[in-house]
């Protein structure tokens, strides 16, 4: 304990280096995207950043509370639509969404306020449904949050004045760039990490490990679940908003089962309960699926032409996912984090002792 306290009060370049290294590694992506990356690579880097946000914020809830939400893509949808509606120029709104209620038709927010309001909106929704759903446990939460996702979809398809229904929603201002995305990635990782290391986060982990024991020492289970649920809904909605302002035209189909499964695959492969695992799992799956998608359209083996096999990448991804669940259920990292301070601290040094 003493050494840890000393290490944080006195300037310790090793700890700083350990903290700075992952930041620099993540920062390398947008720098590369702006200098020398092809348009395709640029696009992959932007989408990767948004996926990292989605997975880390899903992990913040699913991984650290041990309760499994299947409905987070619903928050992503709320974020994308809300931010797009709030930021669309008034003149465009009159044409694209003529039936919008008056109080929305004359609003035109700039990028950051629009995403923040969209995030807060999702957060309020999360608090309302969370109060009900988070009382449940195990299976039941999964089924209830899946129901939430279906409800969001039904509403998106039917709330035509706001969303154009199942038709494509277009006219979203193209605000997202790679720096916005990676700034939000940094915020997401920082918030998740802070929450995990706070007393509140310890309570989350305690009720994940043993609900009864946690209650016995005064942890209020519902409250410790609600906080991360609301925060992760906020961040997921912001990620959805960033996605919307990048993709520009989308429909409710984008926010359904396929997207849910993709994000969960990234989460499970990386290891539920580990922030660095989420980042690594996301990078792995994004790269893998890009490679597979390029092969999917058919390719030349030299001696024969492989025909296009649409759907193959999804199938291989699902097979990989089942293999991870069967052979390495805790994912690549499990509950561990990659700790870069270890790179700089010699073996046997007391600073190498990990905090519990």
């Amino acid at each position: 304990m003493n050494t840890a306290a000393n290490a944080t009060t006195a300037f310790d370049w090793r700890r700083w280096a350990g903290a700075a290294l992952p930041v620099l590694m993540i920062l390398a992506l947008p720098i590369f995207a702006d200098h020398g990356a092809s348009a395709y690579q640029h696009r992959v880097i932007v989408i990767l950043g948004i996926d990292i946000m989605l997975v880390v914020s899903l992990n913040l809830f699913n991984g650290f509370t041990g309760v499994f939400s299947l409905g987070h893509v619903g928050f992503m949808a709320l974020g994308a639509y809300a931010s797009a509606i709030l930021s669309m120029p008034v003149a465009h709104k009159a044409i694209n969404l003529p039936d919008l209620p008056v109080w929305l038709a004359h609003v035109e927010l700039s990028f950051l306020p629009a995403t923040l309001v969209a995030g807060l909106f999702a957060m309020v929704v999360a608090c309302i449904i969370g109060l009900a759903v988070l009382r449940l446990s195990g299976h039941y939460v999964a089924v209830a949050t899946l129901s939430f996702l279906v409800i969001v979809r039904v509403v998106l398809i039917n709330a035509t004045p706001f969303t154009r229904g199942s038709r494509t929603f277009f006219g979203t201002p193209a605000y997202t760039n790679v720096w916005w995305v990676y700034a939000w990635v940094a915020v997401t990782i920082y918030l998740a990490w802070r929450m995990l290391r706070s007393p509140y986060g310890r309570a989350m982990l305690a009720q994940r490990e043993d609900r009864v024991a946690a209650r016995a020492v005064g942890v209020q289970v519902l409250r410790t679940r609600l906080g991360p649920f609301a925060l992760s809904a906020f961040l997921t909605a912001v990620a959805g908003a960033l996605w919307g302002h990048y993709i520009l035209s989308f429909s409710p189909n984008a926010f359904y089962f396929t997207e849910t499964f993709t994000i969960i695959t990234m989460l499970v492969v990386g290891g539920m309960g580990s922030i660095s695992g989420s980042v690594i799992g996301t990078i792995l799956i994004v790269v893998l699926s890009e490679v597979l998608r390029n092969l999917e359209g058919g390719f030349d083996l030299g001696f024969m032409q492989v025909p296009p096999l649409y759907g193959l990448s999804q199938i291989l991804m699902a097979v990989a996912f089942i293999s991870v669940l069967v052979f390495r259920r805790e994912g690549l990292l499990g509950y561990r984090e990659i700790d870069f301070t270890r790179l700089f601290v010699r073996r046997g040094d007391p600073r190498n002792e990990r905090e519990a």
């Binding site: 195990g138 039941y140 999964a142 039904v154 039917n158 969960i264 669940l325």
Partner: protein, 298 residues
């Protein structure tokens, strides 16, 4: 149209849709009862059976033979699914099994897209399933009558099976207490395979009835019915066969009443209400309307 006639008409509609949900929910409940696995891929068995039927009809086989073979194909597909995907992960945490079944869904649906194509194909529905009868002011489609009657027959057969045969009784024993059942010499793998075969066969029947109703087949056709069957199974109390049947019919009645009672612009939100009711049932009676009133504390 008098009020009685209107009620009768709606009752027929509710019964016919409810019987499809019941057929689907039984398979979910049988598997859940034994393995605690929510088999999300159950809906895709409808799709597999319907495609099998489509290709056999196009090959020129007679309809009655196609029905029997398609049900067998569905049952075999279900057993294969269990052997390949679910047996390796048996005993894992509930959520891991649920996620595995998601992956199976992705594999089956994309497999169909890859091999057959994403576009829906018209299904040559035989004439006797296309009739519409008029009894006074009532209109009754023959496919609905067939759905109700075949569900009734299957339910009687299933009841006899689980109460009178050794396999059926072992199945209920395994659902009650898997370890004790194994200690009594029940071969658990065989029982689970039988549960998958029967549940999947029923899903195949539901798939064929569904296809006969809508007249087309596509890779994603099982997605929404299985969600509805979940709701039915949860309403009835997950894991029991009678609960699944009651849940299926309750859901049918619920949907038809929502359709009838919701004001015009709201009726398209029907499914949002259905899933909202599911959340309420989970909160108030997590063991279903048939189950004991126990509340799982957090």
């Amino acid at each position: 149209m008098s009020l009685t006639e209107y009620g009768l008409q709606q009752a027929i509609n509710a019964l016919s849709i409810g019987s499809l949900y019941a057929l689907m929910a039984i398979g979910l409940a049988m598997v859940f009862g034994i393995l605690r696995l929510i088999n999300f891929a159950h809906g895709d068995l409808m799709m597999v059976a319907s495609y099998a039927a489509l290709f056999m009809l196009l090959a020129g086989l007679p309809f009655w033979m196609v029905v029997i073979l398609a049900v067998i194909v569905g049952a075999l597909a279900g057993m294969l699914m269990e052997r390949v995907a679910y047996r390796p992960i048996r005993g894992a945490p509930d959520v891991a099994m649920l996620l595995t079944s998601f992956a199976v869904t992705i594999i089956l649906e994309n497999g169909a897209v890859m091999l057959i194509g994403a576009r829906s194909r018209p299904f040559p529905v035989p004439d006797f399933l296309r009739q519409v009868y008029h009894l006074g002011n009532l209109t009754v489609a023959s496919v609905n009558v067939v759905a109700i009657i075949s569900t009734a027959i299957l339910l009687v057969a299933l009841t006899l099976f689980v109460t009178r045969t050794d396999t059926g009784i072992s199945m209920r024993a395994a659902a009650d207490d898997m370890t004790a059942a194994q200690l009594m010499g029940i071969r658990i793998n065989r029982v689970i395979a039988a549960a998958f075969a029967i549940g999947s066969g029923l899903a195949a029947v539901a798939g064929l009835l569904w296809t006969a109703k809508v007249g087309k087949v596509d890779p994603y056709m099982g997605f929404f019915p299985v969600l509805k069957a979940f709701v039915a199974a949860v309403i009835g109390g997950f894991g029991t066969i009678p609960g699944a049947v009651v849940g299926g019919f309750v859901l049918g009645i619920l949907e038809i009443s929502l359709q009838a009672l919701l004001p015009g612009d709201w009726s398209s939100y029907r499914d949002a209400f259905v899933f909202g009711i599911l959340i309420v049932v989970l909160l108030v009676r997590p063991n279903g309307i048939m189950g004991a009133r126990v509340r799982e504390e957090i």
